[in-house]
Symmetry: C2
Subunit: 352 residues, 2 copies
């Protein structure tokens, strides 16, 4: 970003390498050699070329360069929902690290839809991106990209472990810690509110929950595992149903920030006091969790760093496309705050 004035050259108004060559009185080859730094160029010629380029505000066309070199410096990032602070953080981390490594980031919000994800993946293939980072909505996307020769890193969720690199948080460990925190406080009826229990993330968190119950010699009650959709409204409805049951749980583990928001809102609407009536522990540390009172105990995972680590992995994969696939597991941390306390000394009052 050096020159200010518009400088009409060629038909599109943007100066090409040919214009720079003409202005400097040399050939295109020489300009290319100077600008890319590959090959000889006499000192004064170099000076002339650089000055001409700066004066014209010349910016090389990446499309033409890509076409010739067949190697792209941009990566695609596919996230499920930018409005969810978790994915926004992840995207921000990926963007920062991508920039630091000289990549341009093409970001698409797949809106939790496998169809949009497929289309976006095809668009990225068309762009000939060097690689893709994806929080997959379906198992298909990684396979498709892989078959088209695009390096892929699955992040947060992992459908293709063993075939594809992955960067995930310690979901099982975190869920176990959260649940153990509740059992340690004396809770025996602990509900799990979760979006799904079959894919990796949900599966792992469910397993962690079960493991902690088992470790505390508690029997897992399937009725206490509530599956909610992906938005706050649905989570709130499900949580509301759960908390209105006569045999209400004394504690709830909400498996992500959206679900936690639903549970929190539901508890508030029902007039339940946290943690006096019901304890709440969440997964993901969203900003609101430390602003409400009491603040919400949660398992913190560093979404920003998840994005950073994914770009690092992708960069390594691009360098060595044939290396064995690697799954990186990032640490998580239980942050006990005010929303968890021992259960009420007596059983909750019986329904009318």
């Amino acid at each position: 970003m050096t020159a200010e004035r518009p400088f009409p050259c060629g038909r599109s108004g943007r100066p090409t390498i040919k214009d720079v060559a003409a202005a400097a009185g040399v050939s295109r080859s020489t300009v290319s050699r100077v600008l890319t730094g590959r090959g000889y160029a006499a000192h004064d010629v170099r000076e002339r070329v650089l000055r001409a380029a700066a004066e014209l505000g010349y910016v090389p066309d990446v499309a033409a360069r890509l076409l010739k070199q067949q190697v792209s410096r941009s990566i695609g990032v596919l996230v499920s929902d930018l409005r969810n602070p978790f994915y926004a953080e992840l995207a921000a981390g990926a963007g920062r690290e991508a920039r630091a490594r000289g990549y341009t980031m093409v970001l698409t919000d797949t809106g939790l839809s496998a169809e949009i994800e497929d289309e976006a993946a095809e668009a990225l293939v068309a762009l000939r991106v060097a690689g893709v980072i994806v929080t997959p909505n379906s198992p298909a996307v990684s396979g498709y990209l892989g078959s088209r020769g695009v390096s892929v890193v699955e992040v947060d969720r992992q459908f293709a472990a063993g075939t594809t690199d992955g960067v995930v948080a310690g979901n099982r460990v975190g869920a176990r810690a959260a649940t153990a925190h509740l059992t340690g406080l004396g809770h025996r009826r602990i509900a799990l509110v979760i979006d799904e229990t079959e894919w990796t993330t949900g599966y792992e968190r469910h397993q962690g929950y079960l493991e902690a119950l088992h470790a505390a010699d508690l029997k897992a009650d399937p009725d206490l595992v509530v599956t909610a959709g992906w938005d706050v409204a649905d989570a709130r409805r499900r949580a509301s149903d759960l908390l209105r049951r006569p045999d209400r749980p004394t504690a709830v583990f909400a498996a992500n920030n959206v679900l936690a928001e639903g549970v929190w809102r539901a508890a508030g609407e029902l007039g339940l006091r946290v943690p006096a009536d019901v304890s709440l522990v969440a997964f993901d540390d969203a900003p609101w969790m430390s602003m409400v009172s009491p603040p919400v105990s949660t398992v913190e995972q560093d979404a920003f760093h998840l994005g950073v680590a994914a770009v690092r992995r992708l960069d390594a994969r691009i360098e060595l496309p044939e290396a064995d696939s690697v799954t990186t597991v990032l640490g998580v941390r239980l942050l006990p705050r005010g929303s968890t306390a021992p259960p009420p000394p007596v059983l909750p009052p019986p329904p009318l």
Copy 2:
């Protein structure tokens, strides 16, 4: 996304139009005509070509197409801070509308830095994007992009009104409504916590604040206008200083969601009750504002729709590059909630 198997063709392993032509037994031109839908093609030839393309999983190279056609279907989006839910919403809205209009979105988080913004702008020029949407960090970026023949829409902030299209919220109206809400409740010492008052957004919000004070026959006290930086930590420090003054204001208008978070946290730390000790009204409706108790009164602006409207404007601008510039002002809405109440009946207790 139709085929599954890898199909090595050419040196990069990705099938080109030439491979499709060979497979279908026709020339490249014919394949192009079939695939683009422009020009003649006999029925059976068309069938053969389409089948071959599908079997090979052929995806046209956008770089080559762009190079030939000189017209791009991607737009750049430059936002200040993806971790701020306001910008994340905005980006999500832009992404959705871009997709709906057949654009690929290249998104960069400029991290509130003019330097990163400049670099990102240059990268977008190199990509030959059709247009750029930017929440500008400096006045330079729009001029630079404009001079390079790239259509620009400034969103949220507007440095180049008159030269460049803009999409902004009704900042002045909103700020006036927020402040008038406080004067209407009887407040006479109303502080404004704001990031800056010189650029359009900050300037307008400051003006709206002043107008409302004037309309209520209150004198504006410059000591009550506190300038804070762009992060929560700084806002919290400044707010803390403000709220510890002996002549503490009875109400605070925080000019955006980050500042409001800082004020909220500061008030909590100082043990001030909201709204009994101090009323708070914010700008931007972040999720936490309706989760804390009391919920925070705020001026709601629809960030998602701001992004949508910006893409619409940009699309129109790309169609008609020479048309007069347009600034779209989106409506805002005051949401009175629990954080605002009449001031304490007596003056706040004097300091020790």
